[in-house]
Subunit: 644 residues, 2 copies
């Protein structure tokens, strides 16, 4: 039975090959070796082959030679020599893609591991490892990346004539704009660092002065790279470039980890100071102040301002590394030109409720932040009320966000559009990052829930903490579903016109008794821009999967009533409002922990259940992930907003 | 230019569709709505369509009805009603695949997070969370999985007539055999646990008795499931089954984490006891012994034997969860029948040096293990010599392994075969797991390197530790490359006959001036089992990628000299020997840490640099990953051995 099936499908392929002349010229056949396939017997065939032969690399010709020679030489020494020559030639040839991927991935991971090990030693305040060591390691990585980026830009500017393929999905203008802003703030940080170094110049290591200078030039070069090269699909020096890009990815990841660590340490020291002031005591605070006095008057200002800029610096590096990772994934990829067209125009009509509610959320968040930070430093009573306030505010926010996401999902269920399954590494990464970064927050929430359920004391915020934590889990689940479904929905000009009519899939099966008029429709369909869709369908048929295509609006008859045309616009407007509202809410929930509103440190319930060191370790891992999750959601939701 | 290209490729598709009758019966066309496409005009077409229409779900007919009705009804209330009916129908319909994946993934992750939070609270010996809580949580998960597995098996046995698709790559007989063995050892553990419970029945919670009983039945049912259902490609009740499978995956992951935690705690307590005996003191050992006396004489035996069985139980659960994850990935997948055939026959001819060297390695490992475990309990001097011995032994092993992998890679470079790019979730997962589990070990090694470089004391094993750690990093990198390249090499019957001749790719381009005799070869090629390869080539041509196919040996003329035929066999034999040797070495490197030979705890250098708590936390994370890496390498290398 299998044999028969194969036979049929191959006869089909054969026919396709033999009929289409253009196709035949591109087919490469596996030919018998030169000796049994004497070229003199088929002079016409050889002549026809020769133009294409020239295009192939030297390997093929070498292989042919090998077979031609093998009959004349049979001594083992010559054979040995041949094997060595072949090995040398094979080694000189381009390295297999999969291996290059694994090798470069391993290189990057190990670079990160070295950095992480150094940071771990620093966290222990080990006498053998100093901050200088870590900073010089990071500085040298940055210099290496700078050299690579300059080389890359030089090569590209030299070959300006040859068109470089671009992956339009790799990034958008507004993401790059946002990153430029973050980069500017990072550079202000560098200026503060240089100022700090100048003040303490006499007693601190020179690395503390070199690091910000290199970081600033690294930032400038990287922003330039982001604007002009991040979408490139690299096709030359693939293996080398792969190492360059992955080096850039992991350098940024390391800079991110370093930022996260410094920020966590700063926060933890503040927390310990506060606990000591409240009389909990027995917590050692390690001071890393230099041993001499500052020569300028602004040192204290520099070091305290630094911490307000950390959140931006952290987000900058993690975003850049995600974008570079997409570039790495794209190396050597063949871009499907039909799906590589973005037709997005941000339309803002009908946006009222979403932005208004979002602005209310944002304003109240800033209020809550100010009240929380001032109250949490006060007495036990004001601290407790501040924490309670935070949880109640959080519950209200999350309930609104959950209902917004749920209604979005309901609209999608009502408005059945087949998923877009075209290859898109950027979207794939977005999905994985959303999912992966949720884990930190989920883990934190479940810890809180267990702590609340098993708590012996009962502070006023005990049950609001439970509700808040449950809602955090639920909200992330629903929001992920909403964002991912939005990103995977087919986005089409036709769909923009009238999704209600166009999107409903109707499946007809065409048997061999295809009648004449239908055939006409068929051919007409091939002349429309939607033919890519039909082709995709036929391909998917081969693999057994069926996705339905939307029809061109021109083929759809205009209905008599107008109400059918209006509903989809209402739906789209609702979806647009939902996404704007969610963007604002996610920004709010990013602002709070980024600027020090972390009740998980203060409420004491989790600390009681898990102990100080385990719980702070958990938070040091979960809070940065959560911050990244919120920022990443904002970026994804903005993409959703533009797609709807 | 693009338009022209599209036009041509679509004409090609169109011809393929119109010519192949079998193809046409499967094509689904996007048809105009019913109103403009009156069925009465094409009675023949409708009659031809009707048999296939019956097969489709109700949605299509519903959609058609909608269009038929929309002209007769235009009042807004009726329209509202229609929208609601449609929404209801859409909700009842099968949930989109991507959403079901995300939703079930989120469910599973959260189950694991709850378990992890409970374990973290247990690790702190929190008064509110007891072992009973964790065990009852895991027990209820196991019961749920049992119910699902029974339901699944019942449904499958009822529909015995309908053939279930199988993914042959999902697992192999010998993996299942190995898992059955591990499951048996796990069940002995359950017997020990029951014995322990019976002895302390009066003063321990009933959960400690229920847990092993449920675990034993869970193990039996799961092994049965592994043998008869793990390869199934689920196509009915997809969303429900997806939740069932992911529940099983995460239940096993949780059982693995629980095993790892118990084992690490036991090891840490032993280590602390040893340190206290040496006078380091100041380390609190938490005893979790029951408060009453054992009623039987074998309680102590039961509890001490348990820890020798833990490594097997741990490996059992992680392997099962990986296999179930592949099953989850396969849900709703359309298996490509041409690549879904395994023609593997383990040939053992020419195996001499590999097994001999491997056995020597294994034997010396067991010797080292015994000497290490007896010496490390002794005085400082014997302890130091035991650690030195371990490192020297490790360096010798790793140098041999590195050279074996490197020569394997060199052979691959000399023997250029195009990669196999067919879809295979099992292989994809293997690759990711190898890479992911290496991270633990890499991190541990870099920590050791930093500790050694910054150490103030200089024990005799300082520089051997450095060399050993560097070699661990290097060996994992090379071994990963070797295994992944082996798994991605095209494995073919033809390749087995004579790879030297068959594998060398020669590329000929066939132009339209195809002469008669060549055409004959062409057609003959389609009758061979290699035609899948040709078909793949044509498909790859479309996407712009070119992979070359090996030729059938029958088409290759036998050369005059025999040395050409012999070399590939020698190459294959070398590769086979290498993989057997590596299998034995990886088993050796698994045995050592699994049974308590962990010099990273004992040598003191890392502890000095990172502190006791940070370093033990790092080891608790890295050692289980390393153990999994070794076991997983063994499984992958065995697969490599069978493919060569």
């Amino acid at each position: 039975m299998y044999t028969q099936q194969y036979g049929q499908s191959f006869r089909k392929h054969l026919r396709a090959i033999l009929l289409s002349t253009r196709y035949v010229t591109r087919v490469r056949l596996v030919a018998p070796p030169a000796r049994c396939f004497d070229s003199s017997h088929f002079p016409g065939l050889w002549r026809a082959m020769s133009p294409t032969m020239v295009e192939h690399n030297s390997l093929d010709i070498m292989c042919l030679n090998k077979y031609c020679n093998s009959s004349s030489s049979s001594s083992s020494s010559e054979n040995d020599k041949k094997i060595w020559t072949k090995l040398k030639l094979n080694l000189a040839e381009d390295y297999p893609r999969k291996n290059a991927e694994i090798l470069s991935g391993q290189y990057g991971t190990n670079v990160l591991m070295i950095g992480a090990a150094l940071m771990l030693a620093l966290a222990h305040h080990s006498p053998s490892v100093k901050e200088d060591h870590l900073l010089s390691f990071i500085t040298s990585l940055m210099i290496l990346q700078l050299v690579w980026m300059l080389w890359y830009m030089l090569v590209r500017s030299r070959h300006r004539n040859t068109r470089t393929e671009k992956d339009v999905h790799a990034t958008t203008c507004w993401i790059r704009g946002g990153l430029t802003l973050l980069a500017l703030l990072s550079m202000i940080m560098d200026v503060f660092r240089i100022g700090y170094y100048v003040g303490y110049q006499s007693c601190v290591s020179a690395v503390l002065g070199v690091y910000p200078v290199i970081h600033a030039s690294h930032t400038i070069a990287q922003v330039h790279f982001l604007w002009f090269h991040i979408k490139d699909v690299i096709k030359s020096f693939e293996t080398f470039e792969r190492f360059g890009v992955i080096h850039a990815v992991f350098t940024n990841l390391l800079l991110w980890s370093n930022g996260v660590m410094s920020e966590a340490e700063h926060f933890l020291n503040n927390h310990k100071r506060r606990l000591s002031a409240l009389g909990y005591g027995n917590l050692t605070i390690v001071h890393t102040e230099p041993l001499c006095n500052c020569t300028t008057s602004t040192c204290a200002m520099f070091s305290s301002s630094l911490y307000y800029l950390y959140p931006f610096n952290i987000e900058y590096h993690i975003f850049v590394s995600a974008m570079l990772f997409v570039m790495w994934k794209n190396i050597g990829r063949t871009i499907d030109l039909s799906s590589n067209q973005k037709r997005l125009a941000t339309k803002t009509q009908g946006l009222t409720l979403g932005p208004i509610l979002g602005l209310v959320a944002l304003a109240s968040t800033i209020g809550i932040l100010v009240v929380y930070i001032t109250h949490v430093e006060g007495s036990v009573q004001t601290r407790r009320s501040a924490i309670s306030m935070f949880y109640i505010y959080g519950i209200v926010m999350l309930v609104f966000m959950c209902s917004a996401c749920a209604s979005g999902l309901l609209i999608y269920r009502a408005d059945h559009i087949p998923p877009d399954t075209s290859k898109n590494p950027s979207r794939q990464l977005d999905t994985e990052l959303l999912f992966g970064s949720s884990i930190g927050s989920w883990f934190m929430s479940w810890c809180s829930i267990i702590a609340v359920l098993g708590a012996s004391s009962s502070p006023p915020y005990r049950w609001t903490n439970l509700t808040y934590s449950l809602l955090v889990v639920l909200e992330k689940c629903i929001q992920n579903l909403f964002i991912i479904e939005s990103l995977y929905r087919r986005q089409d000009d036709a769909g923009r016109g009238d999704p209600e009519l166009v999107a409903s899939p109707e499946i007809f099966s065409v048997t061999s008794s295809l009648s004449k008029p239908y055939n006409g429709i068929f051919t007409r369909a091939y002349d429309t821009p939607d033919r890519a869709c039909v082709a995709m369908e036929t391909e998917q048929q081969e693999s057994g999967q069926v996705y339905k295509c939307p029809r061109k609006p021109s083929e759809v008859p205009v209905p008599f009533g107008t109400q059918v045309v209006n509903t989809p616009n209402i739906k789209r407007q609702i979806l647009k409002n939902i996404s704007v509202f969610l963007i604002m809410c996610n920004i709010s929930l990013w602002i709070l922990p980024a600027f020090g509103c972390r009740p998980q440190y203060e409420n004491g319930l989790e600390q009681e259940a898990f102990g100080f060191s385990i719980w702070t370790t958990t938070l040091n891992f979960a809070v940065p992930l959560n911050l990244f999750y919120r920022m990443h959601s904002v970026a994804s939701l903005f993409e959703v907003f533009r797609r709807i």
